[in-house]
Amino acid sequence: MQRYLLSRLLQSLAVIFGVFVLVFFMVRLTGDPASLMMPREASPEEVEAFRHAMGFDRPLIVQFLDFTSRAMVGDFGNSLHYRLPALPLILERLPATVELASVALLIAIVFAVPLGLIGGSRPGSVWDAVARAVGLFGQSIPNFWLALILILVFAVRLGWFPSFGRGGPESVVLPAIALGVFTMGQLVRLTRSAVLEIRSEDYIRTAYSKGLRSRVIYVRHILRNAAIPLVSVIGVQFGYMLGGSIYIETIFSWPGLGRLAADSIGVRDFPMVQAIAVFTSFVVVVLNLLTDLAYALIDPRIRYGE
């Protein structure tokens, strides 16, 4: 197991390095980051002054090293828009996004796993059809559109839930559903296909030959094995939700990182955009690493590898 984790750790470090490289060059894609960040009406002198102040006239390598070394100690520069250090602004918004993503993930798991389990255990039945339909729709619905429909029906017409802002528990329901629907679709499909596949494995036949109860076989034998790929996907999906909440937060005016990102793009606050990109990537990488750890712990073949 140590070897496995070590290799994953090294990969993660490589990814983080890749993130730095990518983000660094993102802002320089058009050639001149200064003119990108300055408003269009700015005079050439103002742009030049800005360029010098931000250090964009230094050699690239120097800039890169500076950028990277600062990022590693948490200095992501200042937001142009707020004129404050970027990292504290990000951290301030982080809890809202985490709350949203967590609830979304919870909803997804609670609905998807049992449905996938029942569907996979009765192929060809109504439940199987429902599971497949949910899986398909979940993965095909554009979540920003779903958000609008949910608002229209449940907030405006029925008035059951608020349509914007972060408040009490009822305010997280609609955005979480919209954010979680894709993951729900994925998880249903995955659970169902895992259950289908595992059911036909020899060791399940052995379990039946021992005369064990159905419920025992499903929970202890089938689900336990299905959990292995599920854990991986759940971890990845959580990362996806953290990084992909831009639309949902914008629509619901949810005060999280995604909204901050969208707003920053709107006002062309690219240092902020950069900071968010690095931070979010970092979080996702750590999350993936934790997922790998969980995966290694759950699967005895990796945990006690020969």
């Binding site: 095909s140 554009p142 609008l148 992909g244």
Partner: protein
């Protein structure tokens, strides 16, 4: 010593299907039929928009702005799905919007697939350090939060169809690289290549006769799914105002616009969203069906 026919016949059986069997498979899986129908519909809509749409997508009929769909009170069959805030016919804009989506999807996948195929072939065939470096890069890119980066890059580059296509084409290529490489490795390990080499086949011969035919299946399946994803992401970008310029009718733009009038004129946002939903649905179903049909290893007797 395997005969030439035997070696080639072996693989040929894996990829060639008697047309009768194919038709039977298609009819048996109604999902696949539905997916194919949807796909064809969207392509037809995109190709023949001027003939199918009752109005021009940019025509403004201000007197009839924000009119509900034909079946609601106040609607008319002149504008079957209603009009938006500038009096533009929703149905026509939805039909024309398919052009943007399909163009982005098709060319995006073309670029991603081509890059992926070439790089994946090199990576898998050459192996060694080259492979290691390539896969390192691929894994790094695949580990990043995709949406975030796509959005940021789009914001930096500015609104244009070409930019969107390029962004998707390049950022989506790693998955094609990975799949191609995986297939190349599998084929190399399965002995076709060794047998062919022992018969004196040249390197190019091997690639064209043995490797490429086996890549078609998985790559087409992948392309279908990725295309569906690109249509979705293009709409998302459009929703944020980062895709094509607002003058071009795209489903994403329409959604973005429709959001403002959600309460009073919900149809403006509803129909483009439905269009995205159905296209996605169809392509996902088509992809599933293709995967079942084209990958002989996964074909099991269905109950």
């Amino acid at each position: 010593m395997a005969s030439r026919e035997a070696v080639l016949g072996l693989e040929a059986r894996g990829i060639r299907y008697r047309s009768g069997r194919l038709a039977r498979l298609l009819l048996r899986d109604r999902g696949g039929v539905f997916g194919l129908v949807v796909f064809i519909l969207v392509v037809v809509a995109a190709l023949f928009s001027p003939w199918l749409a009752p109005h021009g997508p940019l025509e403004q009929h201000l007197a009839f702005s924000k009119q509900p769909p034909a079946w609601s009170a106040g609607g008319s069959w002149e504008y079957p799905l209603g009009t938006d805030n500038l009096g533009r016919d929703i149905l026509s804009r939805v039909i024309y919007g398919s052009r943007v989506s399909l163009t982005v999807g098709f060319f995006g996948v073309l670029i991603a697939g081509t890059i992926g195929l070439v790089v994946g072939l090199i990576s898998g065939y050459v192996g060694g350090r080259v492979d290691g470096i390539i896969m390192g890069i691929v894994n790094v890119v695949l580990a990043l939060p995709y949406l975030l980066f796509v959005v940021f890059i789009a914001a930096i580059l500015g609104r244009s169809l070409l930019n969107v296509i390029l962004i998707f084409g390049i950022t989506d290529s790693p998955i094609f690289v990975r799949v191609t490489r995986g297939e190349v490795l599998r084929i190399r390990q399965s002995g076709y290549v060794e047998a062919a080499i022992s018969l004196g086949a040249s390197r190019w011969r091997i690639i064209f006769d043995h490797i490429l035919p086996n890549l078609i299946g998985p790559l087409i399946t992948l392309a279908t799914f990725e295309m569906s994803g690109m249509i979705f992401y293009e709409a998302g970008l459009g929703f944020l105002g980062l895709s094509v310029p607002p003058s071009v009718p795209s489903w994403g733009n329409m959604l973005s616009n429709g959001r403002k009038y959600l309460v009073n004129a919900p149809w403006i946002a509803t129909f483009p969203g439905l269009a995205i939903l159905f296209t996605s649905l169809g392509m996902n179903l088509l992809g599933d069906w293709l995967r079942d049909v084209l990958d002989p290893r996964l074909r099991r007797a269905k109950k």
